[in-house]
Symmetry: C2
DNA sequence: GCGGATACTAGAACACGTTCTCATCCCGAG
DNA sequence: CTCGGGATGAGAACGTGTTCTAGTATCCGC
């Protein structure tokens, strides 16, 4: 049932044990995720149709469901995959900024813009996160831990994190997701979103 | 298309103009909302089935769709209805508490508990809010304004609200919704939710 | 009261997520 | 290499949100 999404980055990332897979199976899983991302990028949540994903990844519908027990599992796993890419990209160089506000702003802005450059994809992924019920708890927790890692890394800049830091990261993440929802609910523009998020960062992390 | 949900409480509540309706139409609308709440209360989001709602409210399926163009519209309107009841109940007596933290905690706790006393109903309503796309923007904005009104009223305790107050109310609302999602995603207990929300209140409203 | 427009009813029809069936393939144990 | 069992393929089938059609009722201006 566990859907491994990439290597954990630190103590927060639940390392979902990956049961052994043949290389053909790894390849199938990769093809499925790629097809999912392609379809999501083209037409958002509704364009990710299970029959279409199966066809594109050259896998039977039943097999797709064996790998990912629901559309939401599939998309949340795809989000984990994208976040992992983003984490690797960010890790290559040190996070700029003197204060933790500046660094957290930098990381969240990079992530937000990197996602919103592909609004359809973002819509699909965020919508899936919000639609997740208890059966997807494990995967969702993985994604949240990945995001929390990103934020905490920026806040602490290498120094060990306190319980307070984790709580702050949680709140910022809540605001981040809620603002994404507001955006894809057509209620605010992407600029307004960013203003709101920065305001929340300033508020939560003020000294 | 607009679905009026009750009288606005102050300048924030968008007063959706209610086009004239015959009393039979008002009665149909009321029956539909009641049937929706009953089904949601019994089995949550998935138990609110459009055919079942139509049958219980003694209305043809097509008519149901004329009144509410989708399941999400229907549930968001039901949420507006519930919030309006809550607002009226709270309005009857002054909000207790010396500081704005105390008052906001009081209001949000009352609201949260009042909702979580009926977890199935809460699940249905919150899930609908998160599933709302741009076509439901108007109704969602109505609900958000109702909640913001609640919070701002508690913060200001009668005094006029500043732009900052509105922003704070927005952040608190974001956290509130995100924590509800986490709860119905099976990732945290209802006690943890409440701790998280109180922490966010303390953080955002600290002096 | 009449006639035309609009609203309503009953039910079929369609789309897509999900489940099921059964035949075939592949992989590891012996 | 052979066998047995799990994995996969192909496709039918089902449930529920949504749309459509045709006929009937209701309302409103005259």
């Amino acid at each position: 049932m566990a859907t491994p999404a990439g290597a954990p980055s630190n103590e927060l990332s639940a390392s979902l044990a990956t049961e052994p897979e043949t290389s053909a199976q790894r390849a199938r899983r990769a093809r499925i995720i790629q097809a999912t991302l392609a379809l999501a990028s083209r037409g958002g949540y509704e364009a990710v149709q299970m029959r279409e994903v199966a066809e594109r990844s050259e896998v039977a519908l039943g097999t797709l469901y064996r790998y990912f027990p629901s559309k939401v599992h599939l998309l949340v796993s795809a989000m984990a995959h994208e976040l992992e890419r983003m984490r690797l990209r960010l890790q290559r160089k040190a996070i700029p900024g003197e204060t933790r506000q500046e660094r957290v702003s930098y990381v969240l802005e990079r992530s937000t813009h990197s996602l919103q450059r592909d609004p359809n994809l973002t819509e699909a992924l965020v919508r899936a996160m919000m639609a997740a019920d208890a059966t997807v708890a494990e995967e969702v927790t993985g994604v949240r831990n990945q995001m929390a890692d990103l934020i905490i890394q920026a806040m602490r800049n290498g120094r060990p994190a306190t319980a307070e830091d984790v709580a702050y990261a949680g709140i910022l993440q809540d605001v981040w997701f809620a603002r994404q929802i507001a955006w894809l609910g057509g209620r605010v523009s992407s600029e307004e979103i960013w203003d709101d998020i920065e305001q929340a960062i300033a508020l939560v992390l003020r000294d």
